[in-house]
Symmetry: C2
């Protein structure tokens, strides 16, 4: 399949949906909605929402049913980036080649824009009009799963653990895995699960996609660590070597580059194996797993 | 009824429930859960969760069914206080007589503790074990309602509007009402609605309680503005005159003290009228409406 064309088209569909679910800049308070939209429509890769839709497709679901969750996952990811970039956190001035939210709107408004995006994600997941036709019990299950993945035992917990590991003692592999499975892995896995649930997956299909999400998610993180060393700025959208500059533990720093690559390839193959039950409909998920790892070699 | 004893007992029940739904300090990351708990168990009045329980009681519901929502509303309120106190916002060092969250845990961790509490609120509202026995469709309606109330069209929007009004041009009454109905009113109303829905209210009872929530919520805000001028520090838990010091528009500054009191009394009476259909079971809601206003005179 033509992955590039697929990603572009799915990304366009997600942008179109996000356009409808986030209040417009003409709605009060103008500056808040402008700040929310500034970061949501900043041209990100939209990996999480695309995984939501691809997982839904893999189990034979209608992507319309999964689109609100796709938007919600992108909104949660975006809020986490806005808060990560704040002066009290990573203090980054640029993100995806543009000034970060707080550089444009000020720290207070950026903090609140992040808060509002996180809150709006749950509004989108639960709104009866946006989710017309979807079983409330399934929606509630998605709300529960996503909120657990994004909170103190998931993404936010990973962020705190990552912060506390910086510049401190040498981080060991279990700690690095604790951080990665939470900081990025939890939301990637939640995206896959949300798509599967909203696509009507039975428990067996859900289990297979969870294995895909766990392995592909970790492969993604290892690949990201590798790209931080060997990638070009264009490929990774941030400064090359920024992890090293911060003294952050990464897979290459703990395992070396070639062992990191070997693990990424192994995880990719496990991810592909877990898709065996799905046939043609899982082709996008397969192509994404390959792409994640192959761009590092 | 003995309101003081009632508030104390309900507050104890809410604390007990919060103790169970917020991860313990022994769970990783320790510092994050410690920071979340520091602000949740800081001895606040617990007005919002008590309103959830009282509204549930008024319609004849079981308070156990409303307890998760009571916890969630308190967690959302607490996250908003943690973020409000940040240096980039109000830059407050003390809250309820104790050092603010960022003074103890640092800005980054306080920001993330707020994020995690907001996220955890939705986990508590939707978790199948915590909400065993409650209809998923009702829970989803509560998630939707609460997320709308807490977001950019509700509480966060009110906070941005409030921030933008400070030290600027003279704020007029419609702007002040825009701010108050969102910044504090939205979450108070959401508390009442959540309790009513989880208590099994029909649409008519829900409508009556919405009128109660709207009027009592605004009365609460006017009373707060009055207390900022005439109260003692003990009564209001923050510095007397802090609104004036910040040049904030308040009801007394726009309408004068006696007209503000007249409005608060009028709103209290409207709130009491809206409870006519409920009889004895609404006694706590009546006592709360009276208390809100009567402490200002």
């Amino acid at each position: 399949m033509d992955l590039k064309a697929y990603l572009k088209e799915q990304s366009r569909l997600v942008d179109e949906a996000l356009e409808h679910v986030i209040p417009g800049e003409k709605i009060l308070p103008h500056s808040l909605h402008e700040a929310m939209r500034y970061s949501v429509f900043a041209g990100g890769k939209k990996l999480r929402p695309i995984l939501v839709l691809a997982a839904c497709e893999a189990v034979g679901g209608r992507i319309e049913a999964a689109m609100p969750a796709a938007c919600a996952l992108e909104m949660i990811h975006t809020y986490s980036l806005i808060h990560d970039d704040l002066p009290c956190m990573d203090d980054d001035d640029f993100r995806r080649g543009r000034a970060t939210n707080h550089k444009v709107y000020g720290e207070a408004r950026a903090t609140l824009a992040g808060d509002a995006l996180l809150t709006a994600a749950f509004a989108v997941l639960s709104d009866p009009d946006i989710n017309a036709g979807t079983d409330p019990a399934v929606l509630l299950r998605v709300v529960s799963m996503v909120s657990h993945a994004a909170g103190s035992l998931g993404m936010v917990g990973g962020q705190v653990a990552d912060m506390e590991s910086e510049g401190g003692l040498q981080v060991d592999l279990p700690t690095l895995e604790f951080i990665h499975t939470r900081k990025t892995g939890a939301l990637i896995l939640a995206s896959i699960k949300a798509g599967a649930l909203l696509g009507g997956a039975d428990e067996q299909a859900l289990g297979a996609l969870v294995r895909y999400g766990e392995t592909a998610g970790l492969a993604f993180q290892i690949a990201d660590d590798i790209l931080d060393i060997v990638g070009t700025q264009e490929e990774i959208g941030k400064d090359v070597g920024s992890d090293q500059a911060r003294g952050k533990a990464t897979y290459p720093s703990l395992l070396g580059l070639s062992e990191s690559r070997r693990r990424a390839v192994e995880l990719r193959d496990q991810a592909l194996d877990s898709l065996d039950p799905f046939g043609e409909a899982a082709e996008p998920l397969r192509a994404i797993a390959r792409y994640i790892v192959d761009r590092t070699s």
